[in-house]
Amino acid sequence: MKKVMVGNHAVSWGARLSRAEVIAAYPITPQTQVVEELAEMCADGRLAARFLKVESEHSAMAACIGASAAGARAFTATSSQGLALMHELLHWASGGRHPIVMADINRALAPGWNIWTDQSDSLSQRDTGWIQLYCETNQEVLDTTIMAFKLAETVDLPVMLVLDAFYLSHTAEPVDIPDQAAVDAFLPPRRARFKLDVADPHSFGGLVRPDSYIAMRLQLQQAMDRARDVFERVETEWERRFGRKYGAVEAYRAEDAELLLVTSGTITSTARFTVDRRRERGEPVGLVKVKMFRPFPVEPLRVALGDARQVAVVDRNLSPGRGGIFAEEIRAALYDLPSERRPEIFGYVVGLGGGDVTPATIDEIIERTRAGAAPEREDLWVGVSP
């Protein structure tokens, strides 16, 4: 069944088809529609979940952790300041190995007060131990929500699926809604490896000594490493059942490209358009879309980028004092390639606070990259005067 829906409702449908059992959330623009729709679904019986209204995002995540500890499939969604408020509990969720799924609708952090898209909110949570998956279309949003539960519950790690404010959250697109029975076959009910059990009472998250702590952190890292392969398997199964696949990294018209753009989120669609136009003119320009940010897909990126002469990374985010965050991660990932296979990497900071990134912006990035023998500095800003 196809329906025209906004990205936020694609998230809601994904959570519903995944049969989330506990949903705890606090409203924030531009996320609110996600949980409004879920609240309606719970109220009218379409979704048999316990919907908890809480007093803050901190409590929302705490409630999800509690629910997950009791063995339930837990879901929440937030944005920006709300995600920042959750920070402490994001660590509790991953350290406690709770396979919670959360949608983050990318929104800039204040001040100045700004409700438009910017990846700095999710990327600020880079080191909290959450898997992060970025989406380009509403169909990808819905599919990723469901796959996120399978991935999370396989590796016992929480997953954050990320979509752009307004460009996806409030933009309607046709979305194919998978059949519930088929989703049930893909994603059976959760079977928790560790959970609260009154018949066998234990406490979770208590004091541990350094030797145990580092052993647990190693297992967390190993689970993250495993998540790359598991995601590949999850996607393969999804493709087999539903005919769609996205990839942790997607190369688009990258064959024999001298210059490769690297994008994430909705800028990818704009970049596809630009690449298509340039390819029609015979220019060797391609695109690599990064869907998975944590764990970072180092090997696929080496493969995808290793043969280009120039790489232009487009970042709608900023680590102040460093620059675009995807660019920084890609430089580190490609550093130990042999020098003859290592492209020049240009980092461009664009569209912060929801500014338009148009084909002209992408064209400017391509022209500036071609004109430079080497990056003049690590962060190149587009669309703003110094």
Binding site: R97, H202, F204, D211, S212, M216, Q219
Partner: protein, 581 residues
């Protein structure tokens, strides 16, 4: 690293019961039931909160029995009481008081339809003679009979009921209701001797000699005179006498224009009765609406039915034509400083006069007790028989109560006095030393500062109590965040035309479901009603429900004294006390 396999998450080897967090605390929660303000405010001494809670739980028969344990006449008081319980109701500071009177009325009517099947109490030695079958006498008789004593009630009138039958109009208190409740008292073994006036048909000396104790509750039947020039003219009469005549079935000729003097319930009864006889009715009151002693609903009803209220005015002279009243000359008043009872004193403005044409004046400025027919050896105070806290007079074994003593004149006060006298007589028969005459010894048996409770006196409270403390729960001790605002239900009333055309009951009370909704509005102040909030909110899961239905147990090994339960308890039942105290 150790050989032991480290799990991926921090998981304890044993249960959390190993960690006795209770050792951290320096204060601990304690459940202590207290007294709801309605109970303390009830002159009858009814466990109002208790029966509302039983109704909340759908335990109708137990609610009825609890009500009847304390009040012999709930269908009567549910209709005519001035319900001070509602004034003290904490809910009044939140939205509107619980409509207690309407619930009591509904439950009183339920008790008439579904009389309790009670085993007769074991008889105790002691015969009591009661003089006066009004609310005080009936209450005393009822409680003594239920305590196992032999009781005979004497009354000068031809039927029992006293002022309830003689003075209160039928449209406020249908006689079938009064008859039903008196029947129930009779069924408890009380004998009635009507048409007998003690002191006249039987001498007091002889009468007192016939019984082991005597309770005098002869009431106040003498209308106070107005003290106005020409008061003896035909057409000026005592309001109470007028009401008695109508209640006997007479329809006295009062003419077309009636002036009622007074602002109390008798005045309102006179005005509304005169309206029903077709008269234009004016009420003269020397103070303002604020100072009127009548029940507010009665004032509203009198005005609704067409009575004209004239404030700050008093009769100064009655004018006659052909030997019959024709007009009332009135003087305007102003309010001066407050007098002894706190109401502002009316002061005449001598030259400011006006005249109202009138065929009849009904004087309703209060009634006095006629003490002349009582034994001379009963000491007096002010205008009544002097009594102690349990109604004992200066003459053993004579007790007294109700309007014949110097006490408030409401029906509920009379019923309450009858109950206290029953307790006093029981105590004297059993030669008990507690409950001393100064009232101090009675304290444990009262609802805080309120009246005596028979449940407490008999030490057979059907409601389980937790560590009771005999003090009222103030509003500030409640946590009203757990309550939602709900509108109070208002009594249904007969239409105006129907009201004025006869003596059918005007106030129709509440439908049964609405009355139950009112019971559900009760906060259950100070009484644990097992709402489970403490159990749900305890972060240490240290609170558990008791199997016997009587509240909760706190696992003190784990309660770390955080105080969340006490802070959140909606009813003020949980308090924190210092450890070791």
């Amino acid at each position: 690293m150790s050989e032991r396999r480290i799990p991926p998450v921090a998981i304890s080897e044993t249960t959390t019961l190993a960690t006795k967090t209770g050792s951290w605390k320096y204060i601990r929660p304690v459940y202590r039931d207290r007294v709801a303000p309605c109970n303390a405010g009830c002159p009858v001494g009814i466990d109002i909160e208790g029966y509302l809670n039983l109704l909340r739980e759908g335990r109708w028969d137990e609610a009825r029995d609890l009500l009847l344990l304390e009040n012999p006449l709930p269908a009567v008081t549910g209709r005519v009481c001035h319900h001070p319980c509602e004034i003290s109701c904490n809910r009044g500071r939140f939205d509107e008081p619980v409509a207690i009177h309407a619930v009591e009325r509904m439950l009183g009517d339920y008790a008439l339809e579904h009389p309790p099947a009670e085993a007769a109490p074991s008889q105790r030695p002691g015969e009591v003679g009661i003089v006066g079958a009004g609310p005080a006498g009936l209450a005393c008789a009822y409680h003594l009979a239920r305590l196992g004593y032999g009781v005979t009630v004497f009354d000068a009138a031809s039927e029992p009921g006293g002022m309830l039958r003689l003075g209160i109009p039928e449209y406020r208190l249908p006689r079938r209701v009064l008859d039903g409740e008196i029947e129930r008292i009779r069924a408890h073994g009380v004998s009635f001797q009507c048409g007998v006036r003690i002191g006249q048909d039987i001498s007091w000396r002889c009468f007192i000699g016939m019984f082991d104790a005597v309770f005098v509750a002869t009431g106040a039947h003498v209308g106070r005179e107005l003290g106005v020039e020409n008061e003896g003219v035909a057409g000026v009469r005592a309001g109470l006498d007028f009401l008695k005549a109508v209640n006997r079935g007479e329809r006295p000729d009062i003419g077309r224009r009636v002036v009622v003097v007074g602002g109390g319930n008798t005045a309102m009864d006179c005005a509304r009765t005169a309206l029903r006889l077709g008269a234009e009715t004016t009420v003269l009151y020397r103070r303002t609406r604020t100072e009127m002693p009548a029940i507010t609903e009665e004032i509203i009803e009198a005005e609704r039915e067409g009575a004209r209220l004239v404030f700050l005015a008093a009769p100064a002279k009655f004018h006659a034509r052909d030997g019959r009243l024709c007009a009332v000359e009135c003087v305007r008043m102003r309010l001066g400083d407050p007098d002894a009872d706190g109401r502002r004193r009316p002061i005449p403005i001598p030259d400011d006069r006006f005249t109202i044409e009138a065929d009849t004046v009904l004087a309703a400025i209060g009634e006095s007790a006629d003490l002349s027919g009582l034994p001379a050896e009963l000491a007096r105070e002010e205008a009544g028989v002097a009594v102690d806290a349990v109604g004992a007079t200066s003459r053993v074994p004579v007790f007294a109560g109700g309007d014949v003593t110097n006490q408030p004149r409401a029906v509920a006060d009379a019923i309450g006095a009858g109950k206290r006298a029953a307790v006093g007589i029981d105590r004297s028969f059993r030669h008990m030393s507690d409950g001393g005459s100064d009232g101090e010894g009675l304290l444990p048996y009262r609802f805080a500062t309120g009246n005596v409770s028979l449940a407490r006196w008999r030490q057979a409270d059907p409601v389980p109590r937790i560590n009771s403390r005999n003090e009222v729960v103030p509003f500030d001790d409640l946590n009203v965040h757990h309550f939602r605002r709900v509108r109070r239900h208002h009594d249904e009333r007969l239409g105006l035309a129907e009201s004025r055309s006869g003596f059918a009951e005007v106030n129709r009370g509440l439908a049964r479901d609405d009355a139950v909704s009112e019971a559900l509005r009760c906060f259950n102040c100070g009484v644990c009603n097992r709402c489970d909030l403490c159990l749900i909110l305890c972060p240490d899961v240290a609170i558990s429900r008791r199997d016997d239905g009587g509240g909760y147990d706190i696992a003190l090994d784990y309660c770390k004294g955080c105080g969340v339960c006490a802070e959140e308890c909606p009813r003020g039942v949980l308090t924190m006390t210092r450890e070791g105290l």
